[in-house]
Symmetry: C2
Subunit: 258 residues, 2 copies
């Protein structure tokens, strides 16, 4: 592990609705900071890529980079992974899955749909109605991130779109790195959590996935499954998780470079 290079992402990202409102993913960055510390304790040179409000590791990092939104995260990941090889990437960051695209009011949306139907002289169905709804959500606030949407609307209808999955780029840029992905669900049966984690692993070519359930997390008590290498390890605290990830990566790297 000594002198190996590790990249740990941590904390949460945010996406702007307008200049004063944003959507954030709740994450303190505490687990990510403990993982970064655990690698640094073993002599690894750690790059810590984190959200603005994320807790920082206590041990000295090789490099700390702070990002805001998903686009900035993608840019930073790409730049770091192109600059040098990492033995391991632990992607613990809670990344915004959706980003605001446009906003209107229920009344504005109703008016736009009515106008479109009148112009076409018929009611669209199925995918056409879906497309009409998507196109009709606009008109206030301009582009996301611009100006400020009025505080005095009756309601707000916000259209959000999926953000690109940055995790999918990691193995494409560095096929040799050991990739640890994270999956957080809330209050689901363990079988469902395992299944969703398996899907994440397959889609993104992860070597390990840390699967956890928010309903089983309070303070340092943090029940999780570390899936990969043909087995599942069951863990109970953030400290256990950090240690287990370092060990699994060590074993994996040891096998690769005997």
């Amino acid at each position: 592990m000594k002198d190996s290079r590790v990249l740990v992402t941590s904390g949460g990202t945010w996406e702007e609705i307008d200049r004063v409102r944003k959507i954030t993913n709740t994450s303190t960055g505490r687990l990510g900071s403990l993982i970064a510390d655990a690698f640094a304790d073993r002599g690894a040179r750690v790059t810590y890529l984190c959200g603005e409000a994320a807790l920082r590791p206590l041990r000295p990092m090789e490099q700390v980079e702070v990002i805001g939104n998903v686009r900035q995260l993608g840019d930073a990941l790409e730049r770091l992974l192109k600059a040098q090889p990492y033995d391991c990437v632990v992607h613990a960051m809670a990344v915004s899955d959706y980003t605001p695209r446009a906003a209107t009011t229920a009344e504005g949306l109703a008016a736009a749909i009515s106008a479109a139907i009148e112009a076409e002289e018929q009611m669209p169905e199925g995918d056409d109605l879906t497309a009409l709804i998507r196109d009709s959500i606009r008109g206030i606030g301009g582009e996301p991130g611009e100006k400020k949407i009025s505080s005095s609307l009756e309601d707000m209808v916000l259209l959000m779109e999926k953000t690109p999955k940055v995790i999918s780029r990691i193995k494409r840029l560095q096929p040799e790195t050991v990739l640890v992905g994270f999956k957080l669900l809330v209050d689901v049966p363990q079988a469902e959590l395992e299944q969703v984690a398996g899907g994440l692993m397959e889609r993104n070519d992860c070597d390990f996935v840390l699967a956890n359930d928010l309903a089983s997390i309070t303070g340092d008590t943090h029940k999780a499954m570390l899936i990969g290498g043909g087995s599942i390890r069951y863990l109970d605290t953030k400290q256990d998780i950090a240690r287990a990830i370092v060990e699994c990566v060590n074993v994996k790297k040891g096998r690769k470079q005997p």
Copy 2:
């Protein structure tokens, strides 16, 4: 000012979309913390009611209370204002104007509208279509704040509703207090800012309104107008704003209690 009681609200509130996503109002709480410090410097006993991430004043506060969402803010304000009289309330907090009520996808919304039209055998118009849209946005994520909405939807359509204006309760609970309201707009002509600030003052019985424009705020440079007492004061920095508010309240209180 010595031994007078002042309540300063500061920072931002957040509203939950689900258990891992929330909508926040961007605010560091820096201006609010400087205002609290300025009052404390003059010997006032200051209660600091702030959002979770807000900067804290440097001077000793009589009391610090931390809240998360608008409901908690309303509860805390009500409790504090019923417990004791305040000579002045400076409501500098950036309060969420909208709170998530329900979410669906564009496709889900289209299907719900189509089904309703089929059942009624006609296309609703005007307010009926607006109501149908509002009722049709639901189906994922349960109640706001519950569980976690799936990360793999094509898009998300979020319906948000206006939050209750907590500022309107302040003078109802304490008609004698000097109330300073805040209005932040983004990149508008000064005349518009003045007009909107005037509306806030009238609706909520504010004695003063601090009107500012995000486009004129960078670090400590913070252009603002303090409107009230028959005049407008133009200010250039956060420190100027804090001093000006303390002075205006002093003069106003001095007049009331000669």
